[in-house]
Symmetry: C2
Subunit: 560 residues, 2 copies
């Protein structure tokens, strides 16, 4: 359970601050990217030299490490302990643990994404989502989740938070995000509510450009403002600012070009700290994103981001030290301002107990880890939570012809119209698994995934081919730089092609956007399943065949 | 010059109707697709047998023919004359002549697209656009242009009419479309205003699904209604209905699913004929489009389309004859209704003079054609019109840093950031031409078209590379089934990547959507050029180097 600082902890913070050089203080405000360091854990001399030159305060561990490493929790913990041991001050290790510790560590539990949790809409389940992320995450060495999202999917065209959010309803989002945050922080993992001042209004992607939340002040206060207030009340230790502009919050002379929140004092200092009362750590979103890069040259970007009130800058690269030293030297940034951020960061570290690391760099507050996995009963509990979310999230959006559930006894041959192929994606993004699971049920499965000529289905029909049911699964990878969650390219052609059939009325299944009916309104039948999470695919098939009920409720409004 | 029917022409219409069998009458209402017939012009017996079995009234000649044939006008004319000679009744030959006869025939003149004409905004030029389309088109054997578009680009997300329309202003669209129509019809080519009741409101593509024009009645009347009224007053001989629903025009019991105009009596009979007073030929958009296919089974689609008031159905395939014979037989469609359409079609044929074909199938009203080209002076005139549109359309949208025009003397090395590659496209869609023309000016050109890693530009900068100017051309093929005109996939990644540079501020050039700033708002400099038309690329480069002024005015509102 996290609590306020004890006197002893407060003394550790002050003592630590007093012992730090300027460069070490600057380092506390930088979050480095572990994947950009070429060292193995055995390269202790090189790591020591790096940390002496760049005494950063925290590391993010993301995709690059995952893909290179074997993906076992024990490997991560050993890697992290090496860094802890070699660093003069205890480090924080963060990950994009948006859907459980399995988001970062292959051997740990990957939950369905937030939107699925929102479809199950159960606060107790949300708390467990946070709890097991923390227990498994801490056991692997993580102390900081850059999660959960508290965004609102107000614009269906938004390509960033499609399934990485809790829907479009502020009350539900505040309630479930707060429960996740408590679940994480009660079990020793700092949470991070993101992306302030709120993603989900723009149709664009801040990986590519600065996006704009163009709600009015009144609209913002009852939506994103309300959600943020409630997660602050829930005690969230950190908030991430996004490369997202909020025009109403800026003074008139700053509104010509969009001002990303990451460089906006009006948003970070004014709105988040003063008006909403947040006194924890503000971390920026990644500084290599397009939404930040166009703000100015490197030096201007860094100084504006820090001066805006940001405590931790995410991946500024090592030029950061020289720019900040110079800014302190010439007065562009005051020592007082720097100390303010360093103190907040050390306070968060003290709350997480990292000052108690032993001489091996081991965090004894973290739960025990046996080899590459948690104690079996714990892993089983996390898996049960994931399975329950999967089971309770599958949503029957439309069943006009009443064909669902299918009668298993009368279905032996099925057609799968692959709206798009995701054969090579991230570990959680294998569309082929859907077909495998159908075949594993003993079904004969034909797959159509070539849409030139458009009339192939019609030709098959005329040749007398027929199926007992047809499925049309859809998926679009997030972070795929598609700039859209809509079916484009081959998927769009597939929508055209399937209408050439006279008799086949496929059952649509969206494993990503909940808004597939916007582009395919003629579907008689649609199931929303929110992701290609393994158990989600299984439960989707079970629900389709009537073995479990469809329990999910759409977490976004659908006018259908 | 087209005029009302003489008594002799009226007699020809009645005499022809009286001589026709039921099947021949049905055939008049079908427009076949020449590209789907496997015959060469020498296969006269096969063509005769086909036309006896399927006595269609008109043929569309489109992309397939163009790609297979050498693309000379004389080839087209000989092919068409063969069909005319072998058909019992004179045929019409249509093409998607949206940007001149060169839209269909490679050796003839391709103009810049309608949106470029709208940027030049000159009624006299619009008349010549129609006139030379007609003179060259007739010379190649065409009698019917499925053009011009009279749509309005009211929704910037619309992926269909992006550059295939005259902008977003009803007055300009009505004025220029009317001038094109007069230019065509004064020179013997029937025009076709499309796509009634109006494309450009939906974000989707009727090639893929039925789209919806969801304006209110009042809004529709002052926009699409006004434009349609004015092209009817200009005497347009035909109007194409689109697979586009207009909910306000339907009775309440028909609004559950979108009703494409192509099956809507309320829209074709009610709105277009009775309320707006159109008494010419109504042709449907292509019946193999997704926006039509989901309406019902083949028979229902065909009968509903014809019963709605459609005179000519575009590409229904040869099953059409049996379905229509049966519908007449069982009273689903009356002979009176069929005769009504046949009479309208024959009247249009008489107006175009095709009853005067000589025994070789030759249209002596058409201008003389020497081998594969018009008399040189005529081609030169058409080319002059195309060049003038290109020259006058190039639009300087933004020049914040004042870097345009460039001083040619101080530019020798340039960088081209290829937002996307269109190396293999239609004849008019070669992005590589832009680079060739820069090199032809003696410039040293570096091209960046790989965006992994994202930091390549930054690496180049750090290595000391520099350029006197950087260009960022953008193109998105229409009909590419992308379902969007926005930069997606690699193009989106390129937008991210280019911001990694600290010093390079590229000059954006959109060779397609006029709305590129929506997705790339940080550009300091943007030129809209509307297409990869050869001369447009040349004049764009000239304008960039100050050799001609930027004369184009944006034909859509841009809030920048």
């Amino acid at each position: 359970m996290l609590k306020g600082l004890s006197e002893e902890e407060q003394r550790w913070v002050e003592r630590t601050m007093n012992s730090m050089t300027l460069r070490e203080k600057i380092g506390q405000t930088m979050q480095d990217h572990a994947g950009r360091l070429p060292f193995k854990e055995a390269d202790e001399d090189k790591i020591t030299a790096y940390l002496e030159r760049y005494p950063v305060g925290s590391f993010f561990i993301g995709g690059e490490i995952i893909l290179k490493a074997a993906g076992k929790a024990g490997d991560y913990r050993r890697w992290i302990e090496t860094y802890q041991k070699l660093s003069r001050y205890p480090l924080l290790f963060s990950g994009d643990l948006e859907f459980g510790a399995g988001s970062a560590v292959r051997s740990l539990t990957a939950f369905p994404p937030l939107l699925a949790l929102a479809a199950a809409d159960d606060g107790a389940l949300a708390y467990e989502y946070g709890k097991y992320t923390a227990l498994e995450g801490r056991a692997a060495g993580f102390t900081w989740a850059l999660a959960p999202g508290m965004d609102l999917l107000l614009n269906w065209l938004n390509p960033v938070i499609t399934t990485r959010c809790l829907g479009d309803n502020p009350e539900r989002t505040a309630r479930l995000a707060s429960a996740i945050i408590r679940g994480m922080q009660d079990h020793g993992l700092a949470a991070c509510a993101k992306h302030f001042p709120g993603d989900g209004v723009d149709f664009r992607d801040q990986h590519i450009i600065t996006t704009v939340n163009d709600l009015s002040e009144a609209e913002w206060l009852t939506t994103y403002g309300e959600v943020t207030s409630r997660v602050i009340k829930a005690g969230v230790l950190s908030v991430m600012t996004g490369h997202i502009a909020l025009p109403w919050a800026e003074s008139a002379d700053r509104t010509e070009a969009p001002v990303p929140a990451t460089v906006s004092s009006a948003i970070t200092n004014g709105l988040l700290r003063e008006r909403l009362g947040f006194d924890g750590v503000v971390i920026s979103d990644a500084l290599d994103m397009g939404g930040f890069l166009s703000w100015g040259d490197y030096k201007r970007r860094i100084i504006d981001c820090f001066a805006a009130g940001t405590d931790v800058l995410l991946w500024p690269d090592t030029r950061y030290f020289e720019v900040m030293e110079q800014a302190i030297g010439d007065g562009a940034i005051t020592m007082e301002r720097l100390d303010q951020s360093v103190r907040r960061i050390l306070e968060m570290k003290a709350r997480l107990g990292v000052q108690h690391l032993d001489e091996r760099g081991r965090d004894n507050q973290a739960l025990e880890l046996f080899d590459d996995r948690l104690a079996p009963e714990r892993t089983a509990e996390a898996l049960r939570v994931g399975a329950e979310i999967a089971r309770r999230s599958v949503t029957l959006v439309r069943n006009r012809a009443g064909i669902l559930p299918l009668e298993a006894a009368s279905v032996s041959k099925v057609l799968v119209i692959m709206l798009n192929k995701v054969t090579e994606g991230r570990q959680f993004e294998k569309m082929g698994r859907f077909v495998e699971l159908l075949r594993a049920r003993g079904l004969e499965v034909d797959v159509l995934d070539q849409f030139e000529p458009l009339s192939t289905l019609r030709t098959w029909e005329e040749a007398g081919k027929s199926w007992d049911a047809a499925f049309m699964p859809y998926f679009m990878p997030l972070h795929g730089m598609m700039n859209t969650a809509r079916p484009v390219g081959d998927a769009a052609k597939a929508i055209w092609a399937m209408q050439h059939a006279e008799t086949i009325r496929p059952i649509g299944i969206s494993f990503s956007t909940p808004y597939l009916l916007k582009d395919i309104p003629f579907l008689d039948t649609l199931v929303n399943a929110y992701s290609l999470h393994e158990e989600t695919i299984e439960y989707t098939i079970k629900a389709i065949f009537g073995e479990i009920p469809f329990e999910g409720k759409s977490p976004v409004e659908l006018t259908i």
